[in-house]
């Protein structure tokens, strides 16, 4: 995102001038509001129509009147969809995947760009996005530890009351299966090319990628 206009009230200016006080810091944070770019620009950058963008923004702004989502709110919102388990870890990873410029908050542009890829993107783009999600430290490789973290987070969302009962080593086994499938050269990491190749060859994955196309 280029021209992000972050607007604050004049308290911020005063706060910069006067000595930093914890109270004033709080005031500053709470006064931060974010206004997204114009509708046309977003229309150009994403694959949503005007009406869809309007609907999306209304929902977004309703939940987050300040215009940005910070991680706590994000976790809260996401956890509401999975009441029986603990979705906070996965929400953390998801937040990082959406927060492309890594400034600690998801603005509407981030949100809508992510959604555009997920709902209207090409297979390549979607797979890219998924890879980005799994690659926690964004170094271009998915290691076993990273995958284990992701897997545990996903299984956490299931909660305790599952059938059959979740065992300790289930995530680990799942990671092994994943790596067996994806890691072609058996070097212990999965690169983006290995990942995309392997997924494109897998029918199930291909089919499921189209699952949510009519969501909006």
């Amino acid at each position: 995102m280029d021209a992000k206009r972050v607007e604050t009230i004049s308290a911020r200016v005063d706060a910069a001038v006067s000595s930093p006080d914890s109270v004033e810091d709080e005031l500053e944070l709470s006064a931060v509001r974010h206004r997204p770019e114009g509708l046309e620009q977003l229309e150009a950058q994403t694959r949503f129509s005007r009406k869809e963008l309007q609907i999306l923004y209304r929902g977004f702004k309703n939940e987050c009147p300040s215009g940005v989502v910070n991680e706590e709110t994000f976790k809260d919102i996401y956890s509401q969809f999975f009441p029986q388990g603990d979705a906070s870890t996965y929400a953390h990873f998801l937040f990082n995947a959406f927060d492309t410029d890594h400034n600690g908050s998801v603005s509407f542009e981030d949100f809508v760009m992510g959604l555009s890829i997920l709902l209207r993107g090409t297979i390549q783009e979607k797979l890219n996005w998924a890879f980005n999600l799994y690659d926690i430290n964004k170094d271009g490789y998915i290691t076993k530890e990273e995958m284990l973290d992701i897997m545990k987070a996903i299984y956490d969302m299931m909660g305790k009351c599952t059938y059959p009962v979740l065992k300790e080593e289930t995530p680990r086994q799942h990671v092994e299966v994943f790596f067996q499938k994806m890691d072609k050269n058996k070097d212990g990491v999965v690169t983006i090319d290995e990942f995309i190749d392997c997924c494109q060859n897998d029918e199930n994955i291909m089919r499921s990628m189209h699952l949510f196309e009519n969501v909006l």
């Binding site: 009406k51 609907i55 999306l56 209304r58 929902g59 977004f60 309703n62 939940e63 919102i77 996401y78 509401q80 969809f81 009441p83 998801l94 995947a97 949100f111 992510g114 959604l115 997920l118 709902l119 979607k126 797979l127 996005w129 998924a130 999600l133 799994y134 992701i150 897997m151 996903i154 799942h174 299966v177 994943f178 990942f195 997924c199 199930n204 994955i205 089919r207 499921s208 990628m209 699952l211 949510f212 009519n214 969501v215 909006l216």
Partner: protein, 663 residues
């Protein structure tokens, strides 16, 4: 899932793509949203004020009226909007609930009105946000207490079928219900006072006799005081036993505070009777006499203020406990300090720490008797600290107790005031509503006069009389007329009406009806005039029979302000009469037609309930339940022995009343 985040569901579903590469098996098919409507604006017209919102906003809560298809019932085709005939101000908070997910309770709104709105729109009040929930609950509780007070007030009304025991209990609990109860109340109060005064005077020195020095009156006039005491105790015993007998739950009564006080008040006397004048036990006996002073607590039945005080103390138990505890702590601390400070000085009164307790207490409560005074400088310093802190410690919990007392006392005052106002209010409401009942009579009269005028063809007068009666009223009147027509008697084969009456029953108003009844009663049997007196217990409507239809009512100048015991006229209670008139009719079968008009003077009533009549005119009970058009049973032939089987209570009459919602 909170519906507020329903807007984020598309996002959550989209993010599910992140699981896909990890999954090992195919995913289920996604549900198709076939009814894909574009989000549209909905117009909600609430009593003229238009609110607009997105359809999806309302769809967030599908189990409410606005979120479900129930709102289609309110859809107005021509204006393409949903019309609700409700309060627009209250609707604001309801619509905001959909928008923000939080329901707020506006403080200026009446609690029951708000509750009604919530119920109408299908929203449960439990989801009121934390910010407003406390206020809502408080006001709701207040309202409930008020309603309960009113209900308790109604309980005072005499149920006609209370047995002796219940009557007695009611008399004991509410002295103002009957004269006997009042007398009893005052008598017991008087005797309590006498007893207390006796106990007090007993100990006053009465002047010396020749051979003995000053002695208290009790010992001088032993017999007199003993007789007085006996009399009082007898009265108290009788009262206690009567209460015990009348109590609905004897076990609970025996456990109640008042009864314990009663027992404690009279027990010393009996124990004293039993015990002999033994030297050993006479000391204990004297101690027992102290308990006689508890008779003064019996006054709390007579004084509401006293009861409130007791209740306050009970409700402030924790504050009192805190006061006591902190005082004890302070006393011990200061007593110790004072003891050690004064240890040095000679001839000090502070001989031990417990001995210093007395000084500390007297000082902290700022009494300062002066029998124990510190002499050393250190002692004086600590003594002054002690007195200053005493003021603080005592002053802290007292305002809490005071405010509690004030709150409870004022609540009580308000309850009394409400009760007093209620009677006046109900009377005024009755007056205003009875005029609408008389309106029907009036209109009938006008109708009759109109008919007359039609005959005489005086158009101008007709127009004068045809008052602008509203459509609603005219429909209502028509309904009542149909009712009248319905209660016409069946004709027998010879086309003679069975009751030798010619026309349908009609509504007349109370005065005429009572007159009719009176006349009838006087005519037939002087001993029985049940109908009029029995009407106090029955909620009467105006009805009755008259003579010929075409003659104007004999008392044309019926004052419209006259009202009988007409209760709520928003619903006209139409009751069944099991009229004494039947008895009359039996003996009046051969009456002339105009007198026969008196037959079934409760005629306009549909048979729906059995009225409680203290002197049952011995007829088979009329309606058993709700009938439609009343069935007029022919009266049993005179040879039948009267079956006094009419038994009822007003409560059953109440349940059988057909409420015809008037307008």
């Amino acid at each position: 899932m909170a519906s507020g985040v329903a807007a984020w569901l598309p996002f959550a579903r989209a993010a599910a793509i992140g699981w896909m590469p990890v999954a090992n098996c195919p995913m289920p098919i996604a549900p198709r949203d076939n009814s894909k409507r574009q989000d549209e604006l909905i117009i909600l017209n609430v009593s003229g004020r238009r609110f607009q919102t997105w359809r999806t906003t309302l769809d967030r809560y599908p189990d409410t009226l606005l979120g479900s298809s129930e709102k289609d019932f309110f859809y107005n085709e021509e204006s393409k909007e949903y019309f609700f005939d409700r309060d627009p101000d209250a609707f604001r908070s309801i619509l905001n609930f959909y928008r923000t997910g939080k329901l707020h309770y506006p403080r200026h709104e009446c609690i029951s009105a708000y509750d009604e709105e919530l119920t109408f729109f299908g929203i449960i009040p439990e989801i009121i946000g934390d910010c407003c929930y406390e206020e809502y609950k408080d006001r709701k509780r207040e309202n409930l207490e008020r309603l309960q007070d009113d209900q308790e007030e109604n309980k005072d009304q005499k149920l006609p079928n209370m047995n002796f025991r219940e009557t007695m209990w009611r008399a004991f609990e509410n002295p103002h219900t009957s004269t006997m109860a009042l007398v009893f109340y005052y008598v017991t109060g008087f005797f309590i006072a006498i007893s207390v005064i006796t106990n007090v005077v007993e100990t006053v020195p009465c002047g010396s006799t020749a051979n003995q020095k000053d002695m208290p009156c009790g010992e001088r006039y032993t017999v007199a005081f003993f007789c007085m005491d006996t009399a009082c105790v007898m009265i108290f015993t009788v009262e206690y036993l009567l209460r015990l007998f009348a109590a609905p739950s004897r076990y609970r009564f025996m456990r109640s505070v008042m009864s314990i006080i009663d027992v404690v008040a009279i027990l010393p006397y009996y124990i004293g009777l039993v015990m002999t004048n033994n030297e050993d036990v006479s000391g204990a006996f004297v101690t027992l006499r102290v308990f006689r002073v508890f008779r003064i607590f019996k006054f709390s039945r007579h004084s509401q203020g006293l009861r409130i005080l007791g209740y306050t103390l009970k409700s402030c138990a924790s504050e009192l406990g805190f006061l006591l505890f902190s005082l004890t702590m302070a006393i011990i601390i200061f007593a110790t300090v004072m003891f050690y400070a004064e240890k040095g000085s000679s001839s000090s009164k502070f001989t031990s720490i417990p001995a210093s307790f007395w000084y500390t207490i007297v000082t902290m409560t700022t009494l300062g008797y002066g029998d124990m005074v510190p002499k050393t400088i250190a002692g004086k310093i600590f003594g002054s600290i002690c007195s200053l802190s005493g003021v603080l410690v005592i002053a802290l919990p007292v305002p809490v107790i005071v405010s509690n007392f004030s709150r409870i006392y004022h609540q009580n005052q308000r309850a009394d005031k409400r009760r007093a106002q209620k009677k006046a209010r109900l009377a005024r409401i009755r007056i205003s509503k009875s005029s609408s009942a008389n309106a029907f009579i009036q209109s009938k009269r006008n109708g009759l006069l109109n008919e007359l005028l039609e005959l005489t063809a005086k158009e101008e007068d007709e127009q004068k009389l045809a008052k602008s009666i509203s459509l609603l009223e005219s429909q209502h009147h028509h309904l009542l007329q149909c009712l009248e027509k319905t209660t016409s008697l069946p004709l027998d084969s010879n086309h003679h009406p069975v009751f030798s009456s010619l026309q349908a029953h009609e509504f007349v108003d109370e005065q005429v009806y009572e007159q009719n009844c009176l006349e009838r009663a006087l005519q037939t049997y002087a001993s029985r005039s049940p109908s009029i007196s029995s009407h106090d217990s029955s909620e009467g409507t105006c009805c009755g029979r008259r003579g010929k239809r075409n003659t104007p009512l004999p008392n044309a100048s019926l004052p419209s302000s006259h009202q009988g015991p007409l209760q709520e006229l928003s619903a006209i209670h139409i009751q069944c009469g099991d009229p004494p008139s039947r008895t009359a009719s039996r003996s009046n079968l051969n009456l002339k037609t105009d007198n026969s008009g008196r037959i079934n003077c409760k005629g306009g009533r549909i048979t729906t309930a059995i009225i409680s009549l203290p002197t049952p005119p011995a007829l088979t009970p009329d309606g058993d339940g709700l009938h439609g058009p009343p069935q007029r049973r022919p009266p049993p032939p005179p040879s039948h022995p009267p079956t006094p089987s009419i038994q009822t209570t007003a409560s059953s009459a109440c349940t059988n009343i057909v409420k015809v919602s008037a307008l």
